[in-house]
């Protein structure tokens, strides 16, 4: 299943990542880390909240795969993991692509089905569409149908 470098995220990973991004403090932390790695104290400085509260936010981001933490000397440093953001962005894009390509195909199918006599043999007749005049084509971006009929006007 996982064939590409950006493997599809599981639902749980998506939920975690979107949940993590749904908070303004956590987004601000990510924006801060996009400038470079930072220690917890540096990360916490701009926010009017306790360090444990910030630590909790960091844990949520880490669980979501959006950041990683490592030790440098005596400090715990936070590091942005851009790959997860990329995966989320790809996910949104692929969702749109899925529907847009499906709808293009659906348009073609519906058009074909509404040309009289073009239903596949044995297919149940869509009663209502049979009774109606063939639909108008939209615009000129379509291939002509299998027959010359159904052009409306």
């Amino acid at each position: 299943m996982r064939t590409t470098a950006t493997a599809p995220l599981t639902e749980i990973q998506l939920d975690r990542a979107f949940g993590a991004l749904a908070d303004p403090t956590r987004r601000a932390i990510l924006a801060r880390l996009s400038e470079g790695d930072a220690g917890v104290l540096d990360v916490a400085r701009p926010f009017p909240m306790s360090q444990p509260a910030i630590t909790k936010h960091l844990r949520v981001l880490e669980d979501a795969g959006l950041i990683s933490r490592h030790r440098r000397a005596r400090h715990r440093m936070c590091h942005l993991e851009p790959q997860r953001l990329k995966q989320l962005s790809d996910w949104v894009g692929s969702y749109r692509e899925f529907w847009e390509t499906s709808f293009e195909r659906l348009d073609e199918l519906l058009e074909e089905l509404q040309v009289p006599g073009s239903l596949s043999p044995g297919a149940p007749a869509p009663a209502s569409s049979r009774q109606q005049e063939p639909r108008h084509r939209q615009g000129s971006n379509r291939q002509p149908g299998k027959t010359g009929e159904g052009e409306g006007t």
């Binding site: 949940g19 749904a22 851009p82 953001l85 962005s89 195909r105 199918l109 297919a123 939209q138």
Partner: protein, 160 residues
């Protein structure tokens, strides 16, 4: 004839774990219903062209189940299935939508077909059951919204 907008509108409401997809289709609801519920037709449009619908089974009745398998050119398969809760042909279909890769997540999908001038407005609303997320983020969960997150992702991706 009015020029109708066939843009796919994808909405992510700010306050619910919901994804809504809206699209105008140039056919009456009865025909759209048929192509959305019968395998013969689903095979021909559901999903990207590069993915073949290699299996399709739809038992269209309340309590009935459906199952669709998409196969990629490399042979990998994506299996989706669900159960119908509510059927009101040709206007409304409600049921579960599950990806086999994460069966613990049962999204509820509502398909609504409205007759509009010149065709049908099709709306699918997918409500995600994000228990995992809820447990994990007792304090803030998803309620602040994913649309906002989407915008932020775009900003953040641009940053990194």
């Amino acid at each position: 004839m009015t020029t109708t907008n066939t843009e796919t509108e994808i909405t992510l409401p700010a306050d619910e774990p919901v994804i809504e997809v809206r699209r105008f289709l140039n056919a009456p609801p009865e025909l759209v219903w048929q192509v959305c519920t019968e395998c013969e037709y689903l095979r021909r449009w559901f999903g990207p062209r590069r993915l073949e619908v290699s299996e399709c089974a739809v038992d269209l009745r309340v309590g009935g189940t459906w199952r669709i398998v998409h196969r990629a050119p490399d042979g990998s398969e994506f299996v989706f299935y669900g159960e119908f809760f509510e059927l009101d042909a040709p206007h409304r279909r409600v049921g579960t939508f599950v990806w086999e890769g994460a069966p613990e997540h049962q999204a509820v999908e509502t398909l609504v077909l409205e007759a509009v001038e010149g065709g049908t407005m099709m709306t699918t609303t997918t409500r995600h059951d994000s228990l995992e997320s809820r447990d994990m983020h007792v304090a803030n969960g998803m309620e602040e919204g994913i649309i906002d997150s989407m915008e932020r992702i775009a900003e953040l991706v641009a940053l990194v």
